[in-house]
């Protein structure tokens, strides 16, 4: 059944009129005219010689040569029967084999890209060929200058000379870099590869899943045939059983399709439903450490201080330190002090 649609615009008009509402004036129908604008601009392109435009001949093919001037395919065929001739607009000698299909609306861009590709073949140094980024950037700017000059016909002769000179000087580097991609291009290639792989992976998974389902169904069918062959039960019952099983299988498959790996992680790797306690962390309140000088009970008479050993004459009884010993910080006082501590401690008997 199809609703026969009557003019809905007027339907609203009617509705609003029913409520005695004046319709606001319609503002601009630009939405509908816009595509036409696009059309005309694209159609305006044409061959400067025979004046054919895209609008009159939709299959018109525009060609462009090194000078950046356009000609249509037919004119090219006609003018360049002998393989070479001069440009209609700028009189540059051209070869027929150098004509390319014009890719861009602005033929100078075609020309520039052509030149750029040529220049880049020679100027193919990479960022690692330079000691610093700054120099690399200067080099890039130089390349840009050359392309600019060649495209806009500024100082062409000199620029060409410069290029040739550069080519002679850097032959090795150019040769070496020919096959190398820039680092960024490598990265891009890698990304593309990754993308391709993950797509392939997904496709394979889907395929495998389908295969598995198909197999399960086939098995189910085979089981029914087997049962019909061997079982004693009436066929209708078996068929009913089979139907139930098939339905179960179907729902199972449906469920599997629905089930995407459940996840308990946010994409940041944090667990969902992780409860965060809002209690402030309990502060462990301890008494501050207070230094007390060490009291050692020696159970003996008081030992003379380290500084006093020399004055009291104890040092006379130990071997004096030779120069080799003192290098490590040894003094004879240390050994003497220890010996005295040893001798003095534990001389008093324990009380009680």
């Amino acid at each position: 059944m199809k609703v026969i649609k009557f003019q809905h615009r007027s339907c609203f008009k009617w509705l609003l009129r029913g409520c005695s509402l004046p319709l606001p004036p319609k503002t601009g129908s630009e939405y509908y005219t816009r595509p036409n604008v696009v059309q005309t601009e694209m159609d305006e392109q044409g061959c400067p010689r025979c004046k054919t435009t895209k609008y009159r001949n939709p299959s018109l093919k525009l060609m462009v040569n090194v000078c950046g001037h356009t000609l249509c395919e037919n004119c090219v065929e006609m003018l360049f029967v002998r393989g070479s001739s001069n440009c209609v607009q700028c009189d540059t000698p051209l070869r027929k084999s150098n004509f390319r299909v014009q890719l861009f609306e602005d033929p100078t861009v075609d020309k520039e890209v052509e030149i750029r590709k040529k220049v880049l073949k020679i100027y193919n140094k990479r960022d690692f060929d330079f000691p610093s980024l700054r120099e690399y950037n200067d080099y890039l700017e130089q390349v840009e200058d050359i392309v600019y000059n060649l495209t806009n016909n500024v100082d062409v002769e000199n620029t060409k000379l410069r290029m040739e000179q550069y080519q002679r000087e850097n032959r090795d580097v150019i040769q070496r870099n020919k096959a190398k991609l820039t680092r960024e291009q490598e990265e891009l290639e890698e990304l593309l590869l990754q993308e391709q792989q993950s797509n392939e992976q997904r496709r394979l998974e889907v395929l495998q899943e389908e295969q598995r389902q198909l197999q399960a169904k086939r098995k189910n069918k085979q089981a029914l045939l087997d049962e019909l062959e061997q079982s004693q039960l009436p066929a209708t019952l078996l068929l009913a059983q089979h139907k139930v099983r098939a339905a179960q299988l179907e729902t199972q498959i449906e469920q599997q399709k629905q089930a995407v790996k459940p996840t308990s992680l946010f994409s940041t790797g944090i667990h969902m439903r992780q409860t965060v306690s809002l209690q402030p962390v309990t502060k462990i309140e301890d008494v501050l450490y207070h230094y007390r000088p060490l009291q050692v009970e020696t159970y003996g008479p008081p030992v003379p201080e380290l500084e006093q050993l020399g004055r009291l004459g104890y040092l006379n009884h130990v071997r004096a330190a030779v120069t080799q010993d003192t290098a490590g910080g040894y003094t004879s006082g240390l050994a003497c002090y220890r010996a005295i501590q040893d001798a003095f401690s534990g001389l008093f008997p324990l009380r009680g």
């Binding site: 595509p35 609306e105 890039l140 700017e141 840009e144 600019y148 291009q185 891009l188 994409s267 809002l278």
Partner: protein, 682 residues
Amino acid sequence: MKLNIEGLLVYFPYDYIYPEQYSYMLELKRTLDAKGHGVLEMPSGTGKTISLLSLIVAYQRAFPLEVTKLIYCSRTVPEIEKVVEELRKLMEFYTKETGESNNFLALALSSRKNLCIHPEILHANIVVYSYHYLLDPKIADLVSKELAKKSVVVFDEAHNIDNVCIDSMSVNITRRTLDRCQTNVDTLQNTIHKIKETDAAKLREEYRRLVEGLKEANVARETDIYLANPVLPDEILQEAVPGSIRTAEHFVGFMRRFLEYLKSRLRVQHVVQESAPQFLKDIFEKVCIDRKPLRFCAERLQSLLRTLEIADIADFSAVTLISNFATLVSTYSQGFTIIIEPFEDRTPTIANPVLHFSCMDPSIAIKPVFQRFQSVVITSGTLSPLDIYPRILDFRPVTMASFTMTLARTCLCPLIVGRGNDQVALSSKFETREDFAVIRNYGNLLLEMSAIVPDGIVAFFTSYVYMENIVASWYEQGILENIQRNKLIFIETQDAAETSMALEKYQEACENGRGAILLSVARGKVSEGIDFVHHYGRAVIMFGVPYVYTQSRILKARLEYLRDQFQIRENDFLTFDAMRHAAQCVGRAIRGKTDYGLMIFADKRYARADKRGKLPRWIQEHINDGSLNLTVDEAVQLSKHFLRQMAQPFRQEDQLGLSLLTLEQLESEEMLQKITQIAHQT
């Protein structure tokens, strides 16, 4: 009244408070204490705005070092005005209570004409503006760049925030954009030419700066003065502009090549979809443009525009758009897709090529916000299911809570009408779109409702096309005529002027007493920003489930991305999206506790648990088994009963102590106990 929220003194400019407001403030305070992000859902009309404002202002006063600024983002200008009004009330209350004139500076930014930039913002304590000022990289750079780290950001009415994020990062390029861009580039070239003759030093100075690199911006970013801009990736700041686009002429030539390339890409015969790396590879092969200069494109253009001292930036919107596109496409290898369509689906004969560079990951746009500010609060009346927002926006909330409305009387009545009187299943699903029986039953439902509901009825359809079809059919069947015996009918159209006129007249008709019916569209202007308080909307009828148009390639790409990256099933997301819009639509009718309204879901699919479960909790609570899968007749019976009850006088005293509290009532032990149960943690 003065409240004590876990030890914080909060001035609340009203004499009474709703229990859920108290609970809301509790959760909010905990979020601020933890310096984390929060997702809070509270029904509209229960005073979210004032709760938010009074708590955060109190917090700011109590801990001026912890929270220095409140950034309040809302969606539309009327909503911003509402916030400012509430804020004014709060400030008056402060002055009255404390006796001192307050030293708070609040600032509202609404439209471009009263756009004011940063010296004030830097000092204001409260800034109220639209989402775009924070999320849209182009505007955020102008306005929000220097906001302090210790700010609290609130996104109100944030149920649509993911779409705002996506829109702010997506670029659509038509042939027209490119033509305008072409003119821009020509103008640039001419200006450069002129300046070279008159004031070459200026260009040289710029050139010198570029050779040095973008150090300034880098220092700013590292010292964390600025909000990061997703269009200005970190790597760029650490490097100098590549030599190939350093001088102005070279850059213009570069733009020209890029432009011509885009033009050639738009000349397609069939739809092309590709990823960013594929695009970059192709652009290198065709016009020898590397990835690196593309990355610097946006920044380089800004620099050039500044140097040329071009006053009217708006004229250069096209070239800015293209340069932003260049930077984005070369920066993000994931999360974006490029779709080139030669014509619109509806008009395949008219060539109208569009290049959609569409963002599929809302977290890219909002990431700087979450990273920069210590607390970001996302709140709205309809955020269910709560856990999907942290997933699609990729952040980790410390609080997620949904609050219900405490009611002294059940003032909302959701009904799910699944069948007509002739037992035909009602549904807007594709197969039954043009089924006469369904359309007739829908008409019948509206007719019956128009007879029993007083004052205004708002009806929502799933799309403009669907509405047009149905209304045309109703007209033929004479249903419209019958409805018009009861109420006047008004229609929302795609024309904004027409719609606002219809809306105005609808309200006028409601004032007159007999009431009116407004036919509108979910996701339209009416469903998003317009409230139907009291008699402006006594019933909302939702015809069908407002699924988004699923055949669009952009949506398909986004769904695929969600599945692969976030493990969200297509169906889940579509249902979630449909239900949040349905909830938005029906929520239009209830804007407070004294208000009442019917909510009629006219589609049998609403009865299913997966749909019903995605409605906000405050609506779900009132759906019982008796209101599922009703016929039109049954729904009418229930509505009559409900409306009769609601028509009884309802005074403030009836509410007091139940859903409206004085300070003493609030502080009673029993009430505090109850309040802890309002918040539903997920």
